[in-house]
Symmetry: C2
Subunit: 430 residues, 2 copies
Amino acid sequence: MPTITSVNVIDIRFPTSATLDGSDAMNPDGDYSAAYVVLETDDGDLAGYGLTFTIGRGNDLCVAAARQIGARLAGRDVDELAGDLGGLYREIMADSQMRWLGPEKGVVHLSAAGVLNAAWDLAARRAGKPLWRFVADMTPEELVAACDFRYLSDVLTPAEAVGMLARLAPTREERIAELAEHGYPAYTTSPGWLGYDDGKLRRLCREAVADGWTHVKLKVGANVEDDVRRLSIAREELGDRVLMIDANQVWDVPQAIEWVNRLAPYEPLWIEEPTSPDDVLGHAAIRKAIAPVGVATGEHCHNRVMFKQLLQAGAIDFCQIDSCRLASVNEIVPVLLMAAKFGVPVCPHAGGVGLCELVQHMAVVDYVCVSGSLEGRVLEYVDHLHEHFTDPVRIERGRYLLPGKPGYSARMHSESVDAYRYPDGHQWGG
Amino acid sequence: MPTITSVNVIDIRFPTSATLDGSDAMNPDGDYSAAYVVLETDDGDLAGYGLTFTIGRGNDLCVAAARQIGARLAGRDVDELAGDLGGLYREIMADSQMRWLGPEKGVVHLSAAGVLNAAWDLAARRAGKPLWRFVADMTPEELVAACDFRYLSDVLTPAEAVGMLARLAPTREERIAELAEHGYPAYTTSPGWLGYDDGKLRRLCREAVADGWTHVKLKVGANVEDDVRRLSIAREELGDRVLMIDANQVWDVPQAIEWVNRLAPYEPLWIEEPTSPDDVLGHAAIRKAIAPVGVATGEHCHNRVMFKQLLQAGAIDFCQIDSCRLASVNEIVPVLLMAAKFGVPVCPHAGGVGLCELVQHMAVVDYVCVSGSLEGRVLEYVDHLHEHFTDPVRIERGRYLLPGKPGYSARMHSESVDAYRYPDGHQWGG
């Protein structure tokens, strides 16, 4: 019966701003960072690894919050914890003093995600299973008991969720076998960062096609003439492959409509984050005005209540959950269920550091347990920073391969932790 | 030409949980706290004082964030800063790495409010004016230039805002004279904390009536039978005075409707925070189902984009802005303008520590500059912790008296700061 002996939270930052990797219209100079959570146990081989993702300054705030939230895990029995991850979630959310700082948003919620990601990782490792398999081996009742349905009952009740999961449970193994053979469909954002010049954009689009990518995403929103030129380059290189665009929240509603309609001739599948992530009604208005271009959002959608409304309002064509913005599996699965109920495909947000590693598991859970469909689904891929993980994502011909090792894939190499620890790692001059 | 020499942010906590003052259905044991911001200058008599409010644990996170956000103010010329408070706001919001942690919500936004509140206080003190007067002496153009209209243009443009302000500008002094004579209408929440027993509730309601209060608010939401009994006690004591109720977010939408309809016979004016503060569409559904009981919310409404939607969706009858949840005057005034446009009265949230001191200025600005109306307006009052402020609110016969001293009224006595500084103040055993 292993016990958690300590909760370590480490400030890890990568100086990505130097290369403009990850640059977009709202975030010109992010340093991809993680509040990295390690749950150590008295079983030398067993630990839990999780993270929340930020882009630099303020990562220390998430580290401090995760330390406070995580402190309650020290001394806990691993098997008890793993057997009641819903209880752990509810315990964390019930801290009313911390809740005041959100509620369920911002630094506290991001940090809760980091801690809970580590707890789910620990539970999956203890079971010797990849996270997706750990979830897929739960009964519908067990999975629903781990989920947060608070504030959702006008759209989805726990009983209804059990029914949805139960209908697909008998055929879970068929879909797992299919993913094991063919992988999960993906798209790449790597060619399209806003800081890249036209030559680099063209070269990277060409390489993406050669590598078998069928879907490519470009950043837009800084200058409309530049966007027209960049989209025409991308469209030339991509032919009839699928192109998506992403504005990272820079527009007001009327401006979004005007700008996207200028870019519509290049037939983007979706515009991502056209405006404030809080603006449910704004997204609905934009969607109406730019069809057939779709609307996608979610990487900054801060909790299940906001996703509920995006779905209720008919505001989105694609639901982009994020494994660090939402508070781990406990909050993501209810969003997957609501999206399935509304018939909206889930296309998780990835990139940053570790997000691809994490969300691949959630995409698999969506297909295997919740929606049973791959229609309209593509999982984001960005080719940064995977070398720092012990179980990095594997991509072949534009598809994610099914993860096979135990856990949630968020463990970093100790050499990387030592090098990029902020501010004392040697990559930071420490 | 004074210069800001240092930015001090202090963790202040009051052990209010010991007396159940402030207890409600969501927050049973808050320790009212403040990340207290002091902008010191090289003019010995001049400093700026601001705060953001929390309820205990996590106040240190706001302190840390406010230090990071405030650091940019050190070395600034006070007159330049005071002349471009919109520029300061935009500079703070443009920090994309910090923005990632929200955006515009949670710890980072609360902390930005604390820093900006101190900057507005400094500007008003430099001018020798109460904050409300400092704002009322700005031209419509100057005030609009200080405001954040990003993401609002589908509802309100800066040009339209100038027009709204200009229409009322010629009569500002008349309304100021009226407030100077009669004060601003208020209500009290002091009798109705959930932790108080029936006897104390009855006694405090009776005292409120004797003190001239015409509006009293009760906490509800823990147990419906208890609520029925407590409301019947309050109604007996209040006669035909106005009663409001506040559930502090504990219900799902269907539950809110059922519960409020049970309490409707006691004719509450409004139900406050019936569900998640993020649930715009939920509030709209509740409002439809419980009329003529009104819906009020806002103390946890995290930014202007959320208020925009509450108004667009017809989700609220009363708009409860908070001086620490929104990012200071720069973000509050646009909300006042939108509420005026939609004809929804603004009834600011107060209580906690220092909130009454701050929001009284915003209520005055609403009447004098923005809405020109007192109809349906009542400003919350709670009788806690005013003794710690150098310019506390003054109440007479259920009305706020017009503040007269320079600044935003958030300065604390140095003895209070020394005593309640966490964890080393002597009230904390330090």
